[in-house]
């Protein structure tokens, strides 16, 4: 059970949260092409490494927020509020590789 630091409530156990899937997937307008709508609805990065994802503190403050997590170690690298820009995952990964990491 992960420990997740809700930006509004602090560190809480995973069972208080719902993972809400990949973050920064933009909802297209009604003029979207078939491919754009398929991208939005279905296609995901599913990265082995750092991903930006959405969580909701459903059994707490009920707020959505975003996080960057490493999908191999499951460790959180960054947690930020909805609406804040997506961190540069490549740069983050590079900085992680600079420090000893298992």
């Amino acid at each position: 059970m992960l420990l997740i630091r809700c930006p509004y409530c602090g560190e809480r156990p995973e069972i208080e949260f719902r993972n809400m899937g990949e973050a920064h997937i933009l909802r297209p307008g009604t003029d979207a092409s078939d491919d754009e709508i398929a991208d939005f609805l279905y296609r995901r990065s599913n990265t082995k490494g750092l991903i930006a994802e959405r969580w909701r503190h459903v059994h707490g403050c009920s707020r959505f927020f975003n996080a960057v997590r490493h999908t191999v170690t499951d460790k959180f690298v960054s947690i930020y509020k909805t609406g804040e820009p997506k961190p540069d995952l490549t740069a983050l990964a590079a900085s992680l590789n600079g420090v000893a990491r298992s």
Binding site: G21, Y42, R44, S45, N46, K48, E53, V72, D74
Partner: protein, 416 residues
């Protein structure tokens, strides 16, 4: 060497010294007609059928670690075909047909055991959903029958059918041809048979890139053991499908989740069939060795860690002990996790891709083992002929553009 009683006895007198390698351990050749990325059951089966049925023997199966080390060796070995939609029925029943004499065909005992898969209904909505499956299956020719709670109890004696429990058993849908098989044996059986037909199985070889020619068509794969030319490439990499497909710039409708399973200490026979419950979410069977093999849902977040939270085990065993309260004193011996690649409609993808020469077989989610023979058979057909087999024709990547999903999950939704 052909396996037979005679070979066993001969070898017993020869101190078992004469058993050869079950599959060859070749160095990779510079190029192959087909390279399969992923040495799990599906990939090996694909290679076997390419060689056995399509005469394509210049085939390599490239495996990052050891064959069968992914979900093939981590699943709960359930075999069934009682799916709702005709597309799924066609695919899974195609597999079930092949299971019937797979041991004999491969000359390898895969221990397919038609012990029956009993899927329990606990609510009125479950009953409706179960019966819809049963009717659909009967029309298709798949065995699936409704059992009353008493018939469920007779079929599986440890089941608690008391009306007083939180979610009483209102009945169940039984597929008698469903059951279990020995997962490792399926991997090894296909590997041995494929290797015998000339397929090169290359372990400890990780694909690091997929190369395309000027026209965009597949040309080679880069690996930790060098560049390997390929006219066609099939990705059969389960939880890692997105990672491999990204090497060819293909973005998939997949997410990879941890799926945990566990086994008990071995017991004398107690659970005679496979029991599944969607509502209270667990499934259980007993292996030939006597372990109770138990699984449930995935963890909630994308992960490649092959571990998950204890609370998932807890929820699973809550359900198991509610269904079979005599098992509370039985002990969990080992738990593990796999990485399951799930699609939005919980149905797999066996398809060409936008990249010429690149094919993909993925998205089996939590239920790929049962389909192994049918998946390999149909995917080999797709690769060999550049067009799908009737069994997998609907399982395209294109369906996520058109919206023609094969939504096996939706039918279980509860409302009103």
């Amino acid at each position: 060497m052909h396996f037979s009683y005679l070979s066993l006895i001969r070898q017993a007198f020869a101190a078992n010294a004469g058993w050869p390698r079950q599959w060859r351990d070749p160095e990779p050749k510079p190029a192959y007609d087909v390279v399969i990325i992923g040495g799990g059951g599906h990939g090996l089966a694909t290679a076997y059928y390419l060689a056995a049925e399509h005469g394509i023997r210049n085939v390599a199966v490239i495996e990052r670690g050891w064959i069968g080390g992914g979900n093939s060796g981590r699943n709960t070995t359930i075999v069934r075909s009682n799916y709702l939609w005709e597309e799924s029925e066609a695919l899974y029943d195609h597999a079930l047909d092949i299971w019937q004499d797979l041991s004999q065909v491969l000359n390898y005992n895969v221990m397919y055991s038609a012990r029956g898969v009993l899927m329990l209904a606990h609510t009125v909505h479950d009953v409706q959903s179960s019966k819809r499956h049963i009717h659909a299956n009967r029309l298709f020719g798949i065995d699936n029958e409704w059992l009353t709670p008493e018939e469920c109890k007779a079929f599986c004696p440890p089941l608690n059918i008391a009306k007083t429990i939180r979610y009483p058993v209102l009945g169940g849908a039984l597929q008698r041809k469903g059951g279990v098989a020995r997962h490792d044996a399926v991997v090894w059986g296909y590997a041995r048979a494929a290797s015998g037909l000339g397929v090169d199985i290359i372990q400890n070889c990780e694909v690091t890139g997929i190369r395309r020619d000027a026209s965009g068509a597949i040309e080679a794969v880069e690996t930790t053991r060098g560049r390997i030319g390929a006219k066609k490439v099939g990705i059969v990499a389960a939880g890692h499908s997105s990672v491999v497909a990204a090497m060819a710039d293909v973005r998939l409708p997949l997410e990879s989740y941890p799926l945990q399973a566990l086994v008990s200490e071995p017991l004398k026979p107690i659970v005679p069939c496979v029991i599944m419950s969607n509502t209270i979410h667990a499934y259980i069977s007993q292996s030939d060795k006597g372990d109770l093999v138990i699984g449930a849902g995935t963890d909630q977040y994308v992960s490649y860690s092959q571990t998950g939270g204890l609370y998932i085990n807890n929820a699973t065993l809550e359900a198991i002990c509610e269904l079979m309260p005599t098992l509370r004193r039985v002990r969990m011996m080992r738990g593990w996790g796999g990485i399951v690649d799930t699609t939005p409609d919980r149905s797999p993808i066996l398809s060409k891709t936008p990249v010429p020469g690149l094919f993909i077989n993925c998205g089996w989610g939590t239920g790929g083992f049962k389909a192994t023979p049918g998946s390999g058979h149909a995917f080999a057909h797709t690769i060999a002929r550049d067009e799908p087999h009737p069994a997998n024709a609907a399982f395209t990547l294109e369906r996520f553009r058109s919206g023609r999903l094969i939504d096996e999950a939706a039918a279980a939704a509860v409302a009103h």
